[in-house]
Symmetry: C2
Subunit: 86 residues, 2 copies
């Protein structure tokens, strides 16, 4: 049965302070890696979906990505990869 | 000054149970999106680095990605995107 693999990336909006990313940036400097201008931390979801992603299912996925997978007040999502697999 | 943008993706190793991904998969089903075979949740880091990423700095970045950004016992990392910007 065919499967479709989808990746959804969720990042804080650029104007929202990212304390996790800030902490990682501080750790880079303390560990001797200089010259880091910025680090932002986000989430990614790898979905394996049975069958094809029809237009209707893609629309439903967009809705879920924008409500369940991210908090639209402070986060943006991107559906970055949609590939069918045998 | 030139900047280099790097993305590091961190995912649980395939053999490690992913309770977050499992919870999201359950939510998809409850919300009416059927046919999800699997969902895995991971992290992504967007790094903006001043100047060029020389071979030495790339090696240092690999070390940090494999120790600071991920827990190598249960997670894999991938440096997926390295692009210079003006």
């Amino acid at each position: 049965m065919s499967e479709t693999r989808v990746v959804v990336e969720v990042m804080l909006k650029p104007e929202i302070l990212d304390p996790q990313g800030r902490a990682v940036k501080g750790a880079f400097a303390r560990l001797g890696f200089e010259g880091v201008a910025d680090i932002r931390q986000g989430k990614r979801f790898e979905l394996t979906i049975e069958g094809e992603l029809t237009a209707d299912r893609m629309a439903a996925l967009e809705t879920l990505a924008g409500t369940l997978l991210c908090n639209p007040v402070i986060e943006d999502y991107r559906i970055v990869s949609v590939e069918g697999a045998a």
